[in-house]
Structure formats: C-alpha cells, structure tokens
C-alpha cells in the first residue's frame, strides 16, 4: 500500500503536508450537533451577550448602578436645570452637557463591553511541554514543586514571571490573574465593579477617558446646578428656589460625593499613565526607589509625553480570544484530516489542528480547565465584593487575591503583592483573613492538575503526549473513540 509513499520517502525523506485548504466536501459525516461559538465554552467566569459581541464580568450589579446614577443625574439636569440656564445664560450649556454626556456613556460602554486583554488558556500540548521543561529543570520525581517562576531581564531590570496554575502559562510581564473573572489579563490594572469588567491592556484608555470625562461632567453639572440655584434665589429667595427645582438638590448631593472620588481617581490614573505603571505595580511599589537604588521602571519610555501618548494613542491590539469563532467539534467527523493540517487561518479554532493531527489530543482544552476553574475562587467572592461598596474603585479590595499559584505558606505574602487597590494601604489587612479560605482551596489544585503522566483519566495532556510518542496511534480506533471517558480508558490500558 505504501510502496509509492516509501519511494517518495526515500527521495525527500518526509512526505509533504498539504497546505492547501480542503475541498468543500469535507465531511461525509453529518454534524449531529449545531455549531457552537467559542464564547459558549469559554473557561473564564465571564458573561457574554449579543452572541459573543459583548463581554462582561460575572457580577454586573454595580455596573447597572453606575449607569442608573449617570442617566438619572443627567436626565434631571437636562430636564430641570437646562431650560432655565439656556434661557438665562446661554444655550451652549446644554450642548456642552450633551456632548460630555454622550462621551461618558460611550466610553463607559466601551470599557464595560470589550475584552480587557484576556489571555487564552494554554492548549494541552503547550501545558504538557511546559510541565516537561519544568520537570527537567527541577529533576522532580512527580511531587509538585514549589511555585514556579522564571526570571527575565527587561531593559536591565530583573522581573519575575509567575506561572499561573489555572491558565497553565507563564504570565507575561505585567499580566495578572483576576480571580473574579478567572482569567489572566494582559497589563492588568484592576478589576472595576463600577464598570463591570477588568481594566487591562485593551480597555485601559477607554477607562481613563471614561473617568476623565466623568470628572468634567460631574464638575460641569455641579457648577451649573449651583449657578441655577443661586440665580433662582436672587429672583425668589433661597428656599423658594429649592422648592421650585427640587431635582437640583438631588443632583448636587450626587455630584458632591462623586466629585471627590472621581476627580481623585482621574488624578491618580493620570499619574499612573505618565509614569507608565499599572495600579498593581504602584500598590506593590514594584518600581519605587524605596526598594533599591537601582530600581526603575523598565517599561517607561523616559518622558511623560511619550508615556501618555503610548498609553492613549498607541496601537490597539486585537482580542486574543476569538469569541465569535466557531468551535470545531472534536468528534471524529473532523478527522477528515485535510481540515486539521491545512486550516490555520485566524478564523479556525486551534482544535481543528489538534483534532485531525491526533485524535487522542482532541481532549477539549476546556475539560481540564473546568476542573481547576471555579471551585477555589467561589468562596472568596461574597467576602470580596461586600467589602467596598461605599465608594468607587478607591476602596474596593478588587481584583485578585492570589490566584491558585502559591502554596499556602506563600499565599499571605502573595496577597499583599497581588491586590490592586488604589492607594488604601489599610485595606490590605482585610486580605489576610480572606486569604485563608483560598489557601485551603489551593490544596485542591495540585491534585486537579494532571502532572503525573497518565495517572488521571482522560484529562492528562502528558498522558496524551507520551502515548503519541510511543507510537500508539490506531487509526481504526479513532472512529470509535467518541466519548472522552472511553478515550481515557483506552489510553490508560495502553499505558
């Protein structure tokens, strides 16, 4: 049968892989299940709307509060104060107010609905490869070694890259794992419940525009409502003025309390942008000179102007998670192998490679991930979010306590490192008692993550890779390996 092939083998040593797209007649088998989009099987704790176009965090209650506050205050302003001001002063006032309002709403929605820069989790192959490298480095016998870090030198500064056990990757510099959303996010700033999303590389500029324009809007409304009341009280006395326009009182109250926090936050983020730091780094004091004489920020471009321009006008990277792409089902009907090896355009799922290349590696990447995903962090949520509803991002113990990366002995230490709170040092103390339950949960993760090869049924990437390399590849049986559990059992028996 393979005489022809072996002849070509002798000549060119390896048979060439077809790189052309497959023919339209790709599946003799009919698809039994309708095609699902990737967001439906996204491993993080996010909510998706509009068929994957909109992506938010799980807890969105506070976001609706923000929306209501802005809409109600502006609505009252336009209804009750603007007519008077337009007549008495100038009609430009409602126009400017309108522009600011639209801008605030636009940036808020953009921040809340976009992907902050989530890093997709590692494919089983990648995870296995990393595990292998770490085992080689440690020479370990199978017991989980202490938390894994890698050191890199960036522009002269030594930076530690931590390994994320949930996402099975070494986090890039400045990335961090958000426990509320259960995702690693690039250039993680903080998780903002007021916006209902993480703030990271892709939506930081929108977030900054939002708080900046909201500061202007708040100050604008505050100033003009006060003007309105003063003008009215010249006409008919102070108390009468308040009686004539009761809405103004509400607006003044809302704006008064907002101004301090929002303007303060804008100022803080302006400082962060000009020094090219994230909230995370500022709180930890990663680049402060207090840590050492030679400690400096390796990411800064040197001057304030360049830093600002880079943060606000720099290129906008695309989303790395293909939310609206279709999941290539990993059942054998995708085995029509030309699909697997030829489709590597951006719209095709990674699973199409895996599916055709090795049916055994078809193990859904979501499966092992789901095992490690929710349970540990579930306990921490109620405690976290209840702590800081009193004010905007300033006082919330947001974002992530230590993700399940550290052993319990290090977890408390890690907590202080990881909390991205705006400058409120005392809230760090809150983190310690909260870390304990998480530490307990962390005990579970080592067992869940399949590090010993072939020990765990049907979820072990190492088991997969080992068996593949051992030459266990029975094409006839690939059609029969429909169930994950069956696959796992078969593999175990072969190992």
């Amino acid at each position: 049968m393979h005489l022809g092939v072996s002849e070509s083998m002798r000549e060119c040593e390896y048979s060439q892989i077809s790189t052309r797209s497959s023919t339209p007649m790709e599946t003799p088998y009919k698809k039994r299940t309708p095609k699902k989009r990737k967001w439906e099987s996204f491993p993080g704790r996010n909510k998706f709307y509009c068929d994957g176009r909109i992506m938010m965090a799980k807890q969105t209650g506070v976001f609706y509060l923000t929306l209501v506050l802005i809409l109600v205050t502006c609505g009252l302003f336009f209804t009750f104060d603007c007519p008077f001001l337009a007549l008495r002063l100038t009609p430009v006032i409602p126009v400017i107010g309108g522009v600011l309002f639209v801008f605030v709403l636009g940036t808020l929605l953009r921040t809340s609905f976009s992907d902050p820069g989530v890093l997709p989790r590692a494919t089983p192959d990648e995870a296995a490869d990393l595990e292998r490298q770490i085992d080689v480095a440690n020479g370990s016998t199978g017991y989980r070694p202490p938390p894994r870090t890698k050191e890199v030198v960036i522009n002269g500064q030594t930076v530690k890259l931590k390994y994320c056990f949930t996402c099975k990757i070494f986090r890039p510099p400045r990335a961090s794992h958000c426990s509320l959303c259960d995702n690693c996010v690039e250039r993680f700033d903080h998780h903002c419940p007021w916006v209902g999303n993480c703030v990271g590389r892709r939506n930081y500029r929108f977030f900054y525009m939002f708080i900046l324009s909201l500061s202007f809007l708040t100050i604008f409304i505050f100033a003009f409502v006060i003007t309105h009341i003063i003008l009215r009280s010249h006409q008919s006395g102070f108390l009468n003025a308040l009686k004539d326009s009761p809405a103004s009182v509400l607006e003044v109250v809302v704006c008064f309390f907002s101004v301090w926090s929002i303007v303060g936050l804008s100022g803080f983020h302006t400082y962060l942008i000009s020094s090219n730091q994230t909230t995370n780094e500022d709180i930890k004091g990663s680049w402060s000179s207090k840590r050492g004489k030679d400690n400096y920020n390796p990411y800064s471009h040197g001057n304030i102007f360049t830093n600002c321009c880079a943060a606000l006008c720099g290129p906008l990277p695309p989303s790395l998670i293909d939310r609206r792409g279709y999941v290539q089902s990993d059942t054998p009907q995708m085995a029509p192998p030309t699909n697997g090896i030829t489709m590597y355009g951006a719209t095709q799922s990674q699973q199409s490679h895996m599916a055709a290349a090795t049916p055994l590696l078809q193990q859904q990447s979501s499966e092992p991930v789901i095992l490690t995903g929710s349970p540990e962090n579930g306990g921490s949520l109620p405690g976290r979010t209840s702590l800081g509803l009193g004010g905007p991002c300033t006082s919330l113990p947001l974002g992530q306590p230590t993700p399940p990366t550290s052993t319990p002995s290090l977890s408390i230490h890690e907590a202080t490192d990881m909390l991205p709170i705006h400058g409120h040092g005392h809230t760090l103390n809150h983190s310690h008692p909260l870390q304990e339950p998480i530490a307990h949960h962390h005990f579970l993760t080592p067992e869940e993550v399949p590090s010993p090869p072939g020990m765990l049924p049907c979820g072990s990437p190492l088991g997969h890779s080992h068996t593949v390399q051992a030459g266990f590849y029975n094409p006839a049986s690939q059609d029969s390996l429909h169930e994950d559990s069956v696959r796992g059992l078969v593999k175990l028996s072969s190992v």
Binding site: G4, I17, I169, P172, P298, P337, A357, Q469
Partner: protein
Amino acid sequence: MQGLVPAATDGNMATEFHNLQELRHSASLANKVFIQRDYSEGTTCRFQTKFPSELESRIERTLFEDTVKTLNNYYAEAEKIGGQSYLEGCLACATAYLIFLCMETRYEKVLKKIAKYIQEQNEKIYAPRGLLITDPIERGMRVIEISIYEDRGSSGSSSGSSSVSGSTAR
C-alpha cells in the same frame, strides 16, 4: 520533485477523501515544539530566535531564524508607536471609535500580512520538511507552535492510496 498532495485527481470524491486520509495517516504528529516569547525588550511581541534542538535534523538553522526574525519584525511594525499610530488613535478617539466599524486597525492589517507570510513559509519551506507552523495569534501570542510530523511507514491498507502515492512519487 516534492509534490503537493493532489487536491482532486480523482473525480470520485469518496476515493479522494479516502486517499487524503491515508496520506494523513501516513504523516502522524510526532511532536510539537514551542518557541516562547522573548521579553528582554519589554512587553512588545518578540519570539526567541534560539534554535530548538528537536528541529536540528529537520531544517536548517538559518531558514528557521529568518522566519522568526521576519515575524518579529512584523510584530514590531504592528506595535510601533509613532506618527501613524498616533494619528490613528486620535482619529479614532475623535470619532468615538466608530471609525473601526469601517476601517481596520493597523494591527489587524499587519496580522493579515503575518498570516499570509506564515502560509507561504509553510508551503515553501516547512511542509516539504514535514513541519507546520501555527500562527501565534491562535495560541494567544504566547508561542510559535511548530508541529513535527513523522511518516509512519505503514498504516491500514487501501486500494486507492497506492495509485495516489504513485502519482506523487518521482
């Protein structure tokens, strides 16, 4: 001459499918090599140009390094902060980012160029050597995944395959 798998030599689709499948079986995935990111210059996208040992017998070092260096250059171009990116950023901000409904960002344009480049490299250089490069964007820009295929020798028999293989043999 290393030929490509004939796409539709036979009129009979079933036979063709069968043959391609056999050919696939004849080239099974042996290993995957992951080229990691190089963070020595910050968070901009760069990949390490270190030549992995698993590829030593499969491809020349210079070809591999060229590919990675070209990819690095593409990514640097995408993430470059300069006049054009400022213009794009300011224009986008002024139009409340609605302009991206009709226009592609520069990053996306460069990503398309990269996809084309990778496909071309795969066709010309890597596939003839039994290797396949996966676009890093499909791996979250973390790694360049290079799949190494081994010819398996013999698998299940099929009557059609030998004729196909015969046509590809020189």
